[in-house]
């Protein structure tokens, strides 16, 4: 975990400047500006309804599936504007993977779940697919548990395993960024701990942004923490600093549970 003493060496992977987000007439995100560093874990915390998940989903433009959205301001990956820089959203979603709150494996076999992504992008050769599937399952600490039952249906797994399968599925297309929307909220403590361990391992090669309503989880796994409230960014800093000496009163009140 980063500490205030060591300076940040990693470049900025995702950056946001003055971003507004509207559902119809309602402004859900207001004037957001922040930087997310590569190969770090950035946690987004805040009370329910403050726009954290909405914000997360802006990075892979998945809102656009259900309804047209209005995004103003800049949102950039590696310096290229996500919305206006001519990026193809299908390619964006390969680069920016997502893990959802409730595990949502396809009702197919474990193998087919992980191979789904690569197949979308034209990988057909069985040997290659086998390799990709094994690699992804190893990276998400599932391989040893499922290597003998890859053909079994994914829906027969426990919640924690299913979520790790969803992570493997996302990893199979070799993303640069992994967005995690409260990935542990439906899981028991042991499964949660396994996934938190996984997050710390994965960040070696991946930029991770995790939305969580569990402050302690944010404290445990993240390098940076951003506190959102009612669609605005109140404070963002090194996790260590936010949890010991937050600058804003609101952050302090939220962390000490004295909100409202």
């Amino acid at each position: 975990m980063l500490s205030p003493q060591t300076p940040e060496t990693k470049p900025v992977k995702l950056s946001v400047r003055n971003m507004d987000f509207r559902y119809g007439e309602k402004k859900v995100l207001d004037g957001l500006s922040l930087d997310i560093h590569a190969e770090r874990v950035t946690a987004i915390i805040g009370p329910s309804g403050c726009g954290k998940s909405t914000f997360l989903k802006c990075f892979n433009r998945i809102h656009e599936i259900s309804a047209p959205v209005k995004v103003s301001g800049d949102m950039m990956i590696d310096g290229v504007d996500i919305y206006r820089g001519g990026i193809d959203e299908v390619d964006l979603r390969r680069r920016v993977g997502m893990v959802f709150q409730k595990p949502n494996p396809f009702p197919k076999s474990i193998y087919e779940n992980v191979a789904f992504g690569p197949r979308l992008f034209g990988v057909k050769d069985k040997a290659t697919l086998d390799g990709i599937v094994e690699d992804a399952l190893r990276k998400s600490a599932l391989w040893d548990e499922v290597k003998d039952r890859l053909k079994e249906s994914a829906t027969g797994m426990s919640g924690g395993q299913q979520q790790r399968l969803c992570i493997a599925r996302a990893l199979a297309v070799n993303p640069e960024v992994l967005l995690m929307d409260e990935p542990c909220s439906a899981l028991d403590p042991i499964a949660t701990a396994k996934i938190e361990e996984l997050i710390v391992e994965l960040k070696e090669n991946l930029t991770i942004v995790i939305v969580t309503h569990n402050m302690q989880q944010a404290a445990r796994v993240s390098d940076y923490t951003a506190f959102f409230w009612l669609g605005k960014l109140i404070e963002m800093d090194l996790t260590e600093r936010i949890f010991t000496t937050p600058r804003e009163r609101m952050t302090e009140d939220y962390l000490t549970g004295r909100f409202g």
Binding site: M215, Q216, T244, T245, P246, T251, E252, L255, T256, G257
Partner: protein, 221 residues
């Protein structure tokens, strides 16, 4: 109020109670020295026992709060600092006992009029102000206490030199003088404890350590 807030209040109140006992012990010690009263010295020892009981109780309270409530930000700093303030207060009590024990051995007085009393009162003042800073969330007061430590150190050095002179001049005073050296050493230590408490208060209030200013950014200035 939530359970956690109640417990935090208990912690603060407990520290205040402990500090109150410390101040009473200091007062009695000053008097015991002046009046050569063994009754008052005994009372100091009784109070020390109460102090020790408080220490155990409050230490446990701090650990419980950490275990059960995962405190963050100011609450966290308060509890972490309390774990350091509590033993400081307890040691103030121990030093008072050390001083009070020697009350009968420093008579008839050999020092210049009032210098010993002044040291005691300066020290008492520092302790009181450090506790006030804790209770009143007063960073300025805490800084004043830290600065005051120099005054007490100077006073200690001054009395020490005087005692050396007295011992060289009149060998009959050596026994009383050596007791007095230990007495003033203990006062000086109590002042250090008050300073440490003030430093912790600054950490609670501002989030940066006020210790060892020679090492880096100075929280005191």
């Amino acid at each position: 109020m939530r359970l956690f807030d109640t417990e935090l209040k208990n912690l603060r109140d407990g520290i205040m109670a402990m500090a109150g006992i410390a101040e009473e012990m200091i007062e009695l010690t000053i008097q015991a020295l002046a009046e050569r009263s063994s009754a008052k010295a005994d009372r100091v020892n009784e109070l020390d026992r109460q102090m020790d009981e408080w220490e155990l109780k409050l230490d446990q309270l701090c650990v419980d709060l950490l275990a059960l409530h995962s405190p963050a930000a100011t609450d966290l700093r308060l509890i972490a600092s309390s774990l350091k303030i509590i033993p400081e207060v307890e040691r103030i009590g121990d030093h008072c006992c050390n001083i009070a024990r020697r009350a009968s051995f420093v008579h008839p007085p050999i020092l210049s009029e009032g210098s010993l009393e002044r040291l005691g009162q300066e020290t008492r003042g520092m302790v009181r102000r450090a506790v006030d800073a804790f209770v009143g969330h007063d960073a300025a007061l805490a800084r004043a206490v830290i600065k005051n430590d120099d005054t007490v150190d100077d006073l200690y050095a001054q009395i020490y030199r005087e005692l050396l002179r007295i011992m060289l001049a009149d060998p009959l005073c050596i026994e009383r003088a050596s007791h007095l050296i230990l007495v003033i050493k203990n006062w000086e230590r109590i002042a250090d404890q008050a300073t440490n408490i003030a430093e912790e208060v600054l950490y609670i209030l501002e989030g940066r350590s006020a210790k060892h200013p020679y090492l880096r950014g100075n929280a005191v200035e």
